[in-house]
């Protein structure tokens, strides 16, 4: 038998968290191997996405990769708006100030382009240390010896030992689950993001948004257009495309039995969007992924033995009110974990890396952003149904409506408060009731028709690229009763009630005169979003390296 391979550090996942960790490790001469399951870095990833460089953060991505913004991003965000919607009434707040708070810069990004560019740099850097970056390799678990984590196991490679394992494998981290640090149980701990990348004719973005080449805009949408589902919509300008999507609390999607693709369509066909879109609507890609809510799941101590979790794998995804910050925190955490290991190693105590990383997350103020201590107090009070009901009733009553009218312009300022935006409770009130009332009381009717005709689910699936791992489904339903797994029929972004071409289907089986409603699963159209890992009773894994869906935009 040949000897086991070993590297000083193995980084699992080549998203922003993994790229940052690997770059800092390599700069500190740590022999680093990066393993990414996609055919190319970025081919599995989706974000909105606005990438922030925060003034207060110890690391920003362009500190680690020079030339990053020129080569790997789309447009910067120069204006930021929040639209409160009620029917065709719209009240728009300019929240550019909130956006610029603590922001050095912020660019829209498309993940295939961004991550594959980063991966090239990471490979060059890590190759110098004797490691490198490999795509098409899925890590399937932790290698243990005598109960201690000593490395990783993979589908495509023999087990590999390492002094440090960085789990930068994103939301639904199989390594975090394997280590018992994260579970996929509670829908209220997650959001589901769904996004369409829309092709725009030459020059249309500048014309229709009134921009000049190197400017860009961000728009958020909330109110009654998503019925009672808690969450909102976004629109960001890329170089020649738009990213338009939605982010909803997963528990709310499930409770309302909402169909994610229909909510996206509700946004795309809202009269407000007719300013920017027309009947020439051309969707390049439909994609979805779970998003952790750091306020609830950011792990206070994201390490175990030689394993450290960074980014989404550790739940480090901050929803700062309407502003979503995941990529930047993944970068910071990845870099801090790498820094911690290099320091521990130079003290001949590499096993201390985890504790040191935890301390750095705290000392650098990262944990405070992810999990504001005061949010816990607000939550205890505000996220109770009776409280929500009272708040909503007051808001909707003549008193509340009077209040909204009286506040008028000051509401815009309040919405722009970074402090308040961190405290927003996860209830109907801020997502649905308040924006609706604001639009009703202060908004103007916009009228007009929206001629966008979004593709149906079958076409959206048909336009995606898949390399199906025939005969080897990556998800299995453990309990196929409708009670246990039926929520997936609607919550899965590529399934729908009465749609036969998706992943989950509701079926009635008759045996011996007995009738049972069950769900059946076909993983072929799966976009690997992770939703059914949480809302259904499944045995959930990612597909083998290179298999499954391949995003071209992300």
């Amino acid at each position: 038998m040949t000897e086991r391979e070993r590297y000083e550090a193995v980084v699992v996942g080549a998203g922003p968290g993994g790229a940052a960790a690997a770059a800092v490790l390599a700069r500190n001469d740590v022999e680093t191997l990066v393993l990414e399951r996609g055919v190319e870095a970025g081919s599995k990833n989706v974000s909105g996405g606005l990438l922030y460089a925060e003034e207060s953060a110890p690391y920003a991505i362009d500190d680690l990769f020079s030339g990053f913004r020129e080569a790997a991003t789309e447009r910067p965000v120069t204006d930021y708006y929040l639209h409160n919607l009620a029917g065709d009434r719209v009240e728009t707040f300019d929240i550019t100030d909130l956006h610029e708070h603590d922001t050095e810069w912020s660019d829209a990004v498309l993940r295939r382009k961004m991550d594959s560019w980063l991966a090239e740099r990471v490979h060059e850097l890590t190759r110098e240390t004797g490691g490198g970056l490999l795509t098409g390799v899925r890590v399937n678990g932790l290698l243990r010896e005598g109960g201690e984590i000593v490395g990783v196991t993979c589908d495509e490679l023999d087990p590999i030992e390492a002094d440090l394992v960085v789990a930068a494998d994103g939301v639904n981290s199989e390594l975090a689950r394997d280590a018992g640090l994260m579970d996929w149980e509670e829908p209220e701990e997650w959001f589901q993001g769904v996004k369409a990348v829309v092709d725009m004719p030459e020059g249309a973005i500048d014309d229709r948004f009134g921009l000049d080449g190197d400017e860009g805009e961000a728009h958020l949408f909330s109110g009654d257009l998503f019925e009672d589902v808690r969450g909102g919509g976004f629109l960001y300008t890329n170089e020649g495309t738009l990213s338009i999507g939605t982010v909803f609390h997963l528990d709310s999607l499930v409770a309302e039995e909402a169909e994610p693709h229909e909510l996206l369509d509700a946004l795309l066909t809202h009269p407000l969007l007719a300013r920017w879109l027309d009947d020439g609507y051309e969707e390049l890609e439909y994609a979805a992924k779970l998003v952790p809510d750091s306020k609830k799941v950011a792990h206070p101590s994201p390490h175990e033995g030689r394993l450290v979790l960074v980014g989404d794998a550790a739940g480090q995804m901050q929803a700062q009110g309407p502003i979503i910050k995941g990529m930047n925190h993944a970068v910071t955490a990845g870099a801090l974990a790498a820094e911690a290991f290099s320091e521990a190693r130079s003290r001949n105590d590499p096993d201390a890396a985890g504790d040191l990383y935890e301390r750095k997350l705290r000392d650098e103020g990262v944990m405070k952003k992810l999990c504001p201590p005061r949010y816990r107090a607000v939550r205890a009070l505000a996220e109770h149904d009776p409280v929500t009901d009272v708040l909503d009733a007051v808001l909707e009553s003549p008193v509340g409506r009077f209040g909204v009218r009286a506040l008028g312009d000051r509401l815009e300022t309040l919405y722009g408060s970074p402090f308040l935006s961190m405290m927003v409770p996860d209830t109907r009130t801020p997502y649905v009731t308040l924006p609706t009332v604001i639009a009703e009381e202060l908004g103007e009717r916009i009228g007009g028709e929206n001629d966008v005709d979004p593709p149906d689910l079958a076409d959206r699936i048909g336009d995606l690229t898949y390399d199906v791992d025939v005969g080897n489904p990556h998800i299995e339903v453990d309990d196929d009763s409708f009670a246990a797994s039926g929520d997936a029929v609607t919550a899965c972004p590529v399934s729908a009630r009465d749609f036969g071409g998706g992943c989950y289907r509701e079926e009635t089986v008759r045996t011996n005169g007995d009738e049972r409603t069950v769900v059946s699963l076909d993983t072929q159209p799966c976009v690997e979003c992770g939703t059914c890992a949480v809302v259904a009773d499944t045995d959930w894994e990612h597909p083998r390296g290179g298999k499954g869906v391949e995003f071209r935009q992300g």
Binding site: Y7, R127, L134, I160
Partner: protein, 284 residues
């Protein structure tokens, strides 16, 4: 480990590429030459050995000067270090015997001498499968055919291969032999890279080769019969004991029937089809 991969240019038999004259003879001039498709497996086997054990890979072919492109293609896929083209009028129109003599002599001429020679299973044009075994006989080394996986022990100078018995995927045997040896890779050959270091080296080699393949002629040696000290009487057409007495074209399917278009929406026309076909169903 010094390796040589033998490859051959063959007519591109793919639809849209190949062209036949009226009698059904292949029009060589009109049909592009490509690398023999089965040779890809030989290249994969050599590449796997290079990645895992290190060493050099040379690609060798016998054919007209135009084969340079085939060699470049091979260079790119096997990340070859250099190329050998055996090319000369005297070598032309050789049968498998004369070819084997020529190649075996060229292999002997190589410095340093090869440890492993790889070839694909049958060429797409001749389909004989003779050249490999005859070359081994002429050179005097063992041959292992139908290889589906390969391990080399460079210290012991031995190879261990899994091979299909009688070409049957259901029956696999493991054989061992000393080096130098000749390996014929089966179309079922699966390269295996289970170590990260192998995949990383594979990536490095790809990047290095990209530059080399851009001016592949710099890395190509052309040998004629004189370079190899071969007597023209024993090579090429003159040295070929096989006589091809005649070539029978594959008979064209008679297609003299006339087609009638019918509109499936029109009952009248469909009835006609039915009436034509009904007697056939009765076995008439």
């Amino acid at each position: 480990m010094n390796m040589v991969v033998l490859t051959k240019g063959v007519p591109d038999f793919r639809e849209g590429q190949v062209s036949f004259d009226e009698d059904g003879h292949l029009e060589r001039g009109e049909t592009p030459t490509v690398m023999n498709p089965n040779d890809e497996h030989a290249l994969e086997a050599a590449l796997q050995t290079k990645v895992r054990q290190g060493g050099t890979v040379s690609v060798m072919s016998m054919g007209p000067p135009g084969y340079g492109d085939v060699l470049r293609e091979a260079m790119e896929s096997v990340y070859a270090d250099d190329l050998y083209l055996l090319s000369d009028r005297e070598m032309a129109a050789a049968d498998t015997w004369a070819t084997a003599i020529t190649i075996a002599t060229a292999l002997e001429e190589m410095e340093p001498s090869p440890d492993l020679v790889f070839a694909g299973f049958k060429t797409a044009d001749g389909e004989t499968g003779h050249t490999g075994p005859q070359t081994c006989w002429a050179y005097g080394m063992p041959i292992v055919t139908h290889v589906v996986s390969l391990e080399i022990d460079p210290d012991e100078e031995r190879l261990r291969a899994k091979r299909l018995v009688e070409g049957d995927i259901e029956e696999i045997e493991t054989v061992e032999t000393s080096l130098p040896a000749f390996v014929v890779a089966d179309p079922e050959f699966e390269p295996s890279y289970r170590r990260a270091e192998h995949r990383l080296r594979h990536r490095d080699l790809r990047e290095e080769t990209r530059e080399r393949a851009a001016d592949h002629e710099e890395h190509m040696t052309v040998w004629d019969h004189a370079d190899l000290n071969l007597d023209p009487d024993y090579i090429g057409l003159d040295g070929s004991p096989t006589v091809v007495s005649s070539v029978d074209p594959i008979p064209k399917a008679p297609a003299e029937r006339e087609a009638t278009m019918v509109d499936p929406e029109r009952d009248e026309e469909m009835r006609q089809v039915f009436e034509e076909m009904a007697p056939l169903a009765g076995g008439e």
